[in-house]
């Protein structure tokens, strides 16, 4: 297990390194003169040089990369050119919106997908299974922002039960905050569920054909008992993996949903800074998100190794 964990740790560090290099090259090499972009067309050459010097942008790119990484490791993520706010503050202020949204969306997706996917697998070839497969197909085809628009037309405009957008801070009114999150979470969760149902269904289908389920049936368990006692535990492994892979999708969905419901989350902050050409803010925030996703996948891999000896021995 120790060797398996070390291998995964090495992969985690390697992935973070490669990703940081990719982000840096994409932003710096493709972006041109950062200081000139930030200051706009009318800036004088002296002003551009002064800004470039103040932020170390006049140094060679490898030095800039090294400085960025060492500063990040010390917890300094840089600051905005215009407002001078630190990236760390900008990010933490938005987490109270984005984190509950993404986590509840994922949770709702799983709560729907696990029972429905299992039911669909048990009813393959029957009309009920086919109907569920079709519903999940349609759900996959619905763009998450359109789901958001439809839900807010129904529950916000027509029924008037919930706000169609906007945000009430947790400190101001926790109930208000929850009310502004209900429709976004529902949109995200339903679309996640549509995708996850297919994976759960195929994972359970695989397990149902395994010898150990047949053995459990042979010793007298019903199909449901066999599925619950040995089947679901084994189907959990591929489902855990899929959840790890879906984290990237989940973040993409959260980005869009925050726009639909004008929530002041992380992605609106990134978009605003993309528009304002705040290179440092975008670079560091994106890097944080990527580190988070890679870290989740690292934890998923470790869990997988703990749960299933075959995996860690094969690796």
């Amino acid at each position: 297990m120790a060797i398996y964990a070390l291998r995964k740790l090495a992969f985690f560090l390697g992935a973070v390194f490669v990703a940081s290099l990719a982000i840096f090259i994409l932003i710096r090499a493709a972006g041109g003169n950062v200081a000139a972009i930030v200051l706009g067309k009318d800036a004088t050459a002296e002003a551009i040089n002064a800004l470039a010097h103040a932020y170390g942008l006049d140094q060679p790119l490898p030095v800039q990369y090294f400085n960025w990484i060492t500063n990040m490791l010390q917890g300094d993520l840089g600051q905005s050119f215009r407002t001078k706010e630190s990236v760390a503050d900008l990010v933490t202020a938005r987490l109270s919106v984005s984190v509950p949204l993404a986590l509840s969306g994922l949770l709702l997706g799983l709560i729907i997908a696990i029972p429905v996917g299992t039911y669909a697998a048990r009813n393959v070839g029957k009309p009920s299974g086919a109907v569920l497969a079709l519903i999940s197909q349609i759900g996959i085809a619905v763009p998450v922002f359109w789901a958001g628009i439809l839900l807010s037309v129904l529950f916000g405009v027509k029924l008037g039960w919930l706000p169609t957008g906007g945000w009430v801070d947790w400190r101001e009114s926790p109930i208000g905050a929850i009310r502004s999150l209900v429709l976004p979470v529902l949109s995200l969760g339903l679309i996640m569920a549509a995708v996850l149902i297919r994976y759960v269904r195929s994972a359970v289908l695989d397990v149902m054909n395994q010898d150990y389920v047949r053995t459990a049936r042979a010793v007298g368990m019903t199909r449901t008992q066999a599925l619950l006692s040995v089947g679901l535990r084994n189907a959990a492994l591929p489902i855990v993996t899929i959840v790890g892979l879906q984290i990237a999708e989940l973040i993409g969905g959260t980005v869009i949903i925050e726009m639909v419901f004008s929530l002041p989350g992380l992605s609106r902050m990134i978009l605003a800074n993309v528009a304002a050409r705040e290179v440092i803010v975008v670079q560091s925030t994106v890097m944080l998100i990527i580190i988070f996703v890679i870290f989740v996948n690292f934890v998923v891999d470790l869990l997988y190794g703990v749960l299933d000896p075959r995996v860690r021995n094969a690796a």
């Binding site: 490669v18 932003i27 619905v142 763009p143 628009i149 695989d206 978009l271 996703v293 996948n297």
Partner: protein, 288 residues
Amino acid sequence: MNTTTAPTVTPRRRRRLELNASLVVGVVLTIGFLVIAIVSFFWLPSNPNIPNIKNRMLPPGTVDHWLGTDGLGRDIIAQLMVGARTSILVGAGGATISLILGTIAGLVAAAYGKIADETISRGADIMLSIPGMVTALVLAATMGSGALTTIFALTAFFTPSFTRVIRSAAMSVLQEDFITSAKLYGRGKLFILARHVIPNIAGVMIVQFTLYFAAGILTEAGLSYLGVGVTRPSISWGMMLNEAQQTVGISSPLAMWPGLAIVIVVLGLNLLGDGLRDVLDPKLKRRS
């Protein structure tokens, strides 16, 4: 639930019928989509980019503007037709480039030894763990938004998945007996890949292409909705939804049509992909 099954129809038979239905519906929807996009090059009800203030906000059902007009008086059908073109350009463009790059990388990983395989597979794993939507935002910040940036972003997220699928399909072909006999006959690696492996994984390639075409359309719509995808004079369904939400509010029918178009087209392509998988790739049938 009442599930009385006619004694002659076994569950297996039923399953086959259902699968063929998915292929048929998929083919019909996809052909309709392609035809509309092709027609848009030769004929449009009116120019979708020129505002016409006296015709603004016409309701659906108006003569000459069957789905109505938007807040600037531009015809909705004309915009939807040009939007179909953009979906194909960006979706199919991204899927095609990723298919080519992914096939090359996947074949190299499968056939050229452990070091090549480890490098390519781990590289693909790393790229898969980077959220695509976030990468697209970064690209839009540096390269500027537009159809080309969107295709580039799609290529960046789809290539690693293609690589994985092609690699594993190629590996299973490479273990077949006829490959061994081709090697014993003295055939080189490139010849074996081109002559034996590619034809045998063509089914997988076609299926994956269809599914990523659909995923590309969804992603493009999302990016254009965020305002970092295609921009006018190109028209995208995602952009139409964004404009509808900004100008006339979400409860207008203007926010319905582009969404419906996306759902129908993506559903059609996904059904086509699933249907094709069952025809072209019988081994995967049970899992689909």
